[in-house]
């Protein structure tokens, strides 16, 4: 449980700062090309707690999946899980691209950065979380 919490906190801190760096700094100009699709800055700030909760939910579910079925494999298993989940998410992103008028490069940058993000999240979780040793009787 202690390692679960540590893995969750470490991955959360990473995902929070990565999200800020990517969306708040690097992709700022790309987002500005489609202002109609986004809330005004002040409105986003008033809903900021949903970003915090959403990121926490993503990290919590990731660590739960890792702890439930991948924890024997360490860092490589964590990276593998991150890659599988993110490529599936790229599929979802393509679905959104079909129905929302996002610029193609936003989908490309979002997918590439998402892959890097989940690889690092997987490595962090895989490095920190270790399954509890099997108890022996007697």
């Amino acid at each position: 449980m202690k390692r679960f919490i540590l893995a969750f906190i470490a991955a959360y801190i990473f995902i929070f700062f990565w999200g800020w760096l990517l969306n708040g700094v690097f992709l700022k100009d790309v987002y500005a090309q489609t202002p109609n699709l986004w809330r005004p800055q002040s409105e986003m700030m008033s809903l900021f707690h949903w970003i915090v909760i959403g990121q926490a939910l993503i990290v919590f579910a990731f660590v739960m999946i890792y702890a439930s079925g991948f924890s024997g494999g360490g860092v490589m298993a964590g990276i593998g899980l991150g890659v599988l989940l993110e490529i599936a998410a790229i599929g979802m992103r393509l679905g959104f691209y079909a129905v929302q008028p996002f610029p193609g490069k936003l989908i490309f940058y979002g997918s590439a950065s998402g892959l890097i993000e989940m690889i690092i999240v997987g490595a962090i979780v895989g490095a920190i979380y270790k399954p509890a040793p099997a108890r022996t009787s007697g």
Partner: protein, 139 residues
């Protein structure tokens, strides 16, 4: 891994997810989506991007099937449905973030979260049920 069973599980997952997506998001939630028409492509523009929707579902179904097959090599509808709930939580987290940055209504947010929970739980159960047969025949 039995690729024949994997292929059947993938086809079943793709078929279900695509059909569910059409019924839930395009039909049932059509009215809710139309409350913010500025967020969506026009009908003609959507038609031009339809291949992205199909390809996206293929990618999603394939890699989710791979995840389920690796997560529970022995299969089983119940265990894979549980994994489906956890996968749905990841997508629900992304929905919450989208809600904070895009002018979605609360109705759309709730519909998307409920849709993801139903979609991934059932898809997981289907994949697990099909994959269960695999473990019985190969061991």
């Amino acid at each position: 891994m039995n690729w024949k069973k994997f292929f059947f599980a993938f086809i079943a997952a793709f078929g279900f997810m695509f059909l569910f997506g059409f019924l839930w998001y395009a039909k049932l939630m059509h009215g809710a989506h139309q409350e913010v028409p500025i967020l969506w492509r026009t009908e003609a523009d959507f038609g031009n991007h339809f291949s992205s929707l199909v390809f996206g579902h293929v990618v999603m179904a394939f890699f989710l099937t791979l995840l389920y097959a690796r997560f529970v090599p022995a299969g089983g509808a119940g265990v894979c449905a549980m994994l489906g709930i956890l996968v749905a939580l990841i997508y629900s987290g992304a929905d919450l973030i989208t809600f904070a940055v895009q002018p979605l209504t609360a109705k759309i947010l709730c519909g998307w979260i409920a849709g993801h929970l139903i979609q991934f739980t059932i898809a997981g159960a289907m994949i697990g049920a099909i994959y269960k047969t695999d473990s019985r025949t190969t061991t």
